[in-house]
Amino acid sequence: MANNENTHTHHILPLSVYLGVGTALLVLTVITVWVAQYDFGSVNLIVAMIIAAFKASLVALFFMHLKYDNKLYLLAFLSAIFFLSVFIIITMFDTLRRGDIDKIKAGPIQPKAAIYQNAPTADTTNIIVDSLSSVSDSTLTDTTKQ
């Protein structure tokens, strides 16, 4: 053959693998919805994320071929997941512990956002949003500072 022949035959997955993984994904989707009707409290989110992570790994390993390809691509993908996890976890360390030292920092300064305040007070600055009118588009007007 010509000298541009592939040096190794490209690994072609059998049809049964694709259809099997696809079916597993659809079944897991049904399970995800079914589990959601039961309330486990704060564990709800963890259960949903575990099932989602398992589905994601099926897609990544089989559909995206990470199981069969050069491990460098798997490393790239796992690095992304790792750094994203670091990003979210360290952010949550701060977010969830805001009020530990200074109680006043535990919540927002204003419990309700400015858009729900239908009259300007001395605190609101230069934005008034007419969000409670029946007009379909909300208007944004600037007022000068008092």
Partner: protein
């Protein structure tokens, strides 16, 4: 000298690659690096979701009932099926079955269209009710402070995802045109494979978006 310059290589292989495998592996590495940036792009929004759900769990519980779980589940099934057809399109071209590959690409495109149509109806219903992001929020009936945050997160994340679906549809359309013109074969199907990787990532992101918005529990 002229003999070296005339060394023939197939049209699909670029000059700076020594063989097909090197070109394919280079393309794959480049695509994976791009997918890493996409994961981090959506990751920023997932972090935003984590923060605001931690601060306001009751908003997410009260607001998510206004999303239609049936439509969300249907969309999940549609996207997973489109991933299957995309993978089958690549596999068919790997075996040189060009017509089957083309049919699978068309099926993927159609399923992506179905996804967007369902999304359109969901968005249209929310816009009609006034369940809009941020300062445009204009809906009574969700208890708690700041229910607009849920819809900010919803529209931002599903909107960005929808833009990625549209971009994917454009690329798949280009693949269909090129495939009909005979540009691909069992020796060269790299663009289909790379688009497949992108499409699977779009599906992967939706696999996380679905429980986070529709199944808050």
């Amino acid at each position: 000298m002229s003999g070296q310059l005339e060394q023939t290589h197939p049209a699909y292989r670029q000059h700076h690659f020594s063989d097909d495998e090197q070109q394919r592996e280079s393309a794959k590495l480049g695509m994976w690096i791009f997918l890493v940036t996409e994961i981090l792009l959506f990751g920023g929004l997932f972090c935003f979701y984590a923060i605001y759900r931690a601060w306001n769990p009751e908003i997410f519980h009260n607001a998510h009932v206004h999303l239609d779980v049936i439509l969300g589940t249907t969309n999940t099934v549609v996207l997973i099926t489109s991933s299957i057809t995309m993978a089958l399109a690549i596999r068919a071209m790997q075996m040189g079955r060009k017509e089957i590959s083309l049919y699978n690409l068309v099926a993927t495109l159609c399923l992506a269209g179905v996804f967007l149509v369902i999304k359109y109806f969901e968005y249209e219903h929310k816009i009609h009710l006034g369940q809009l992001p941020g300062k445009f929020y204009n809906f009574d009936g969700i208890e708690g402070n700041n229910p607009h945050i849920f819809f900010s997160a919803y529209f931002l994340m599903t909107g960005l995802h929808g833009i990625h679906v549209i971009a994917g549809m454009v690329v798949i359309t280009w693949l269909i045109i090129k495939s009909k013109a005979g540009a691909f074969s069992e020796k060269y199907y790299t663009p289909i494979e790379m688009t497949g990787l992108y499409w699977h990532l779009v599906d992967l992101i939706w696999i996380f978006l679905f429980p986070l918005f529709y199944l808050v529990g």
